[in-house]
Amino acid sequence: MASTGSNSSVRAAEAEAAQVENAAPAEVVVGLTSHNDAATIGAVVHAVQAALETAGRADTARLVLADAGSSDGTREVVRGLVAPPRLIELEYARGATFREMPYHGAPGRATALRGILEAAHQLGARACAVVDANRQAADPACIDLLMTPVLRDGFDYVSPYYARHANEGAMTKGIVYPVFRALYGARLRQPAASEFGCSGRLLSHYLAEPFWEAEHAAAGIDLWLAVAAACGDFLTCEAALGAREVSPRGAPADLSTTLAQVAGALFADLDTRVDGWQRVRGSVEVPMVGTVPALETDGPSLNLDGLVESFRLGSRELRDIWTWVLPPRTIVELRKMSDAPPDRFVFDDRLWATIIYDFAFGYCHPVMPRDHLLRSLTPLYSGWLASFAREMRGAGLAQADERVEQLCLAFEAEKRYLISRWRWPERLR
């Protein structure tokens, strides 16, 4: 992510700094990140205001808007609902050009979050909640759940837990959560979510972290914040925020791009935090606040045959690439799976765990361009997803969570394999 400076952007930044410096201290800061969200942001601001009113915090709270240069009147909508000094607008995107469009469609997200956290820090906030402006349904009670555990119960980090159908958020269920949990020992089930709450102590810690300007920060920053909370001496919890429905920002990224960005962000942290994760054994449950609702609608359907076919095609075309990071026994297993009839297509948990660890290792000890490596994971992920979705056909939330729990145990069990490879790397070819 790069920004180009100009006189007007410098002046805007100075004005923004003055806005924060001159503001009275705030107990709570609610940060809104937006990008062309005029259709939804009004309802979100209303919900935030309602949550603050109900909690009696309206007078001691500030709304910090970090807009990524919207052209659809997003900021005007907010200005129509909240006025300074309760509203602080960050000008981080003015004059900026963002090279990378992350899969979630929010360019410059790391800069936006950093601005929100810096503002919260300067205002002396005890709690800061970050809320997405593209929520279709904004419930004040959910927004309150990102703040109250910090203010009332002393938690430092509140991670959202959205109720999702078995097939939804599969990348998180199949890769992000199991790896996060096995490596860092905290059972935060949706650690890359774009909403969270944090304490003043944690946000100070965040601001001292070196990841803000790291490569791929726009895609990885949400996950890295969760990792930093899990690796430090901080109390974490999950908040049941109900079902999450968001308006898509532009055309969705293709699977391969999304997977490369998500897995890349996950793997990028391994090298820098090696002192920590290699010392963690097992994992601990984190408390949950709020109640997980039942899902009323059916989940999205997946083309399972198409996913299996994608896996088979990858097995034929990408086998040579895979041999750079996967050991022979895995390649043989994958060939056998490729030959299996569709109704007997099963991706073993331990095999999946070792594959993800091998890719993580290959990412951190590069043997080929990282983007090529990560994109070659796509057919494997398709195969895993097909297997998972078939098994979860008709399953409810609890059954899906139970299945994910099994998968996580496999990742925990195979962590030794990753450490062993990491400790004494031998090139395969």
């Binding site: 290699q278 054994r281 030794r416 450490i419 062993s420 400790r423 004494w424 790397p425 031998e426």
Partner: protein
């Protein structure tokens, strides 16, 4: 790079002479341009600190330790701009850079000496050096280079006086009783630290001040001077490191740490020959003795450990019997002996035995201190006993099996030194390119070990306790730092050895072998039994069950 002021405790230092590493301009001599080109190699090796031997203008009668100008670069190695570009590039790769500060003496070609010898006796210019009308002052002070010098005094016909030198006669000692000399050297120090250099190796530091009726070594006035230098560095450029070269007994070296207010680091000279002795005798006692006789040092200080370096394997700090043993064990060829030491590289010293090389490095990386790897030892380079002085261990780095070992594109006749060409250690057989392509090579092994070592601060910062298994061929010790407990066990013998370790203090803990992350049976109340292969070693993390 971290902002940790104690960064040197976690460093892996790589020592190299610029002239020997890589020739970037095809004149047959290594230079900063060439070194710059090889930074990726060093980064991949995993070292995070480079120690450069002297690269200053010099007549090169003592391989650059005879400095003729302190604040520039010898033209053969490049320019100050080349050095700065190299320094920035090293920093960008997370590597710090330590250079030499030869405080004790200059070259006799240094303008200060040329001016001093013509200046009237008693004048400030004359007093930059130590003069005498007779060669009887400071009588009884030992001569260090016994093979080359007969006296510490040399007559200067221009000055019509003797000048004092603890090393070669062409290296007159500076006179630190003259405040102008102190000011000059602080300005030199500022010049390099302001440029961004991360540390200075203070060469020959025990000999800075002379007093009658003393050994002229380790004098209180010398320590006062070092304290003043440290105060100056801390005030002007905090976070920089001073490394003392004091080839003395541990108790005397300890003084160079002061109360944490002199040097940050100092070489542990005595342990190195005893490691070699223990290996040859297949007996841990010489090593344990050396470590147990090592005095404690202040929290902010660190020992610098090495197996081999650019000098001879010095035997100054061992007894006469031990020296005889070492000569018999490691230098039956008298050509290998120089001064009171053995001028050989690591691989030839241990008969090119890969297991011995690995064992010695495993000890180096797991003993308390900061390890120093000498260039070329990571690929098992050999030496040339028939080159003069210590030049046999300073031959061109062997990058490839191609012309000039990939070191230089110059005509072979122009190389500053002949290459190693013998069938065992010659560059066609031993070179970086070949070892890169061989996953079982020493180079790969070293990379893995360095990477693993860097992962555990306990090795650089932890305490050490030796265990006493009945089998003296087995060396076992425990390192502790914060929550980390590491058990190291080494077989100093060429044959398989059993070891029964008293690990009662760790009852219930599970040893996890660190290289492969393999869990071993839990420790119980009985002695813990291990079998070690020839020259085998284990590093175990002791983990609490269910942690």
């Amino acid at each position: 790079m971290t902002n940790d002021a104690l960064w040197y405790k976690d460093a892996i230092i790589y020592e190299l002479p610029v002239k020997s590493f890589c020739d970037g301009n095809a004149d047959g001599i290594g230079d900063f341009k060439g070194l710059h080109e090889k930074l990726d190699y060093l980064q991949a090796l995993g070292v995070n600190c480079l120690w450069l031997l002297p690269f200053f203008p010099s007549p090169l009668k003592d391989d650059g330790y005879d400095i003729a100008a302190y604040t520039s670069v010898h033209p053969a190695y490049g320019t100050l701009d080349d050095f700065k570009a190299f320094l920035d590039a090293a920093h960008a790769r997370g590597m710090r850079v330590v250079i030499e500060l030869v405080l004790n003496h200059t070259s006799d070609q240094h303008p200060w000496f040329q001016r001093a010898r013509s200046a009237p006796p008693g004048s400030p210019e004359r007093d930059y050096y130590v003069w005498s009308d007779t060669d009887r002052r400071f009588e009884g002070v030992r001569i260090i280079f016994v093979d080359a010098e007969r006296s510490n005094w040399t007559w200067d016909p221009v000055a019509q006086a003797y000048y004092w030198h603890r090393f070669f006669h062409h290296q007159p000692d500076l006179n630190y009783d003259n405040p102008a000399v102190v000011r000059e050297m602080l300005a030199v120090l500022d010049f390099w630290l302001d440029m961004g250099v991360d540390g200075l190796r203070l060469d020959a530091v025990p000999y800075l001040v002379e007093r009658e009726h003393t050994s002229c070594e380790n004098l209180p006035e010398t320590h006062a001077l070092i304290k003043a230098i440290r105060r100056h560095v801390d005030a002007a450029t905090p976070g920089r490191m001073l490394l003392a070269e004091a080839n003395q007994l541990p108790a005397d070296v300890r003084a160079y740490f002061g109360d944490g207010d002199e040097c940050h680091m100092a070489y542990h000279f005595p342990v190195m020959p005893r490691i070699f002795m223990g290996l040859h005798a297949e007996d841990r006692q010489p090593i344990v003795d050396a470590m147990e006789q090592t005095p404690p040092i202040p929290e902010n200080c660190q020992w610098a450990l090495f197996l081999r370096n650019h000098d001879e394997l010095t035997l100054e700090m061992v007894t006469d019997d031990e020296r005889d043993y070492m000569y018999l064990a490691y230098s039956l060829d008298p050509q290998a002996r120089l001064n009171l030491g053995i001028r050989r590289r690591l691989a030839p010293l241990v008969g090119n035995n890969r297991r011995r090389i690995e064992l010695l490095n495993a000890l180096l990386f797991s003993f308390p201190g900061t390890p120093i790897v000498y260039y070329g030892d990571e690929i098992g380079m050999g030496d040339n006993l028939y080159l003069g002085d210590r030049n046999g261990v300073r031959t061109p780095m062997q990058w490839t099996g191609d012309r000039n070992a990939g070191f230089s594109r110059a005509d072979a006749a122009r190389l500053y030194s002949p290459l190693i060409t013998d069938p065992v250690y010659g560059y066609p057989a031993v070179n970086v390119e070949a070892e890169e392509s061989d996953t079982a090579s020493l180079l790969h092994w070293m990379r893995n070990m360095i990477r693993l070592r860097r992962q555990f601060k306990v090795f650089g910062r932890g305490t050490i306790e030796f265990l006493s298994p009945a089998n003296r061929k087995v060396l076992a010790y425990v390192r502790r730092y914060r929550d980390d407990i590491i058990l190291c066990v080494a077989n100093l013998s060429r044959t398989v050895q059993p070891a029964e370790l008293d690990l009662g203090a760790f009852d219930g803990m599970v040893p996890v072998e660190m290289l492969g992350y393999t869990e071993f049976p839990a420790i119980g109340s009985l002695p813990y039994f291990l079998t070690l292969g020839p020259y085998g070693f284990y590093w175990f993390e002791l983990q609490r069950p269910g942690r």
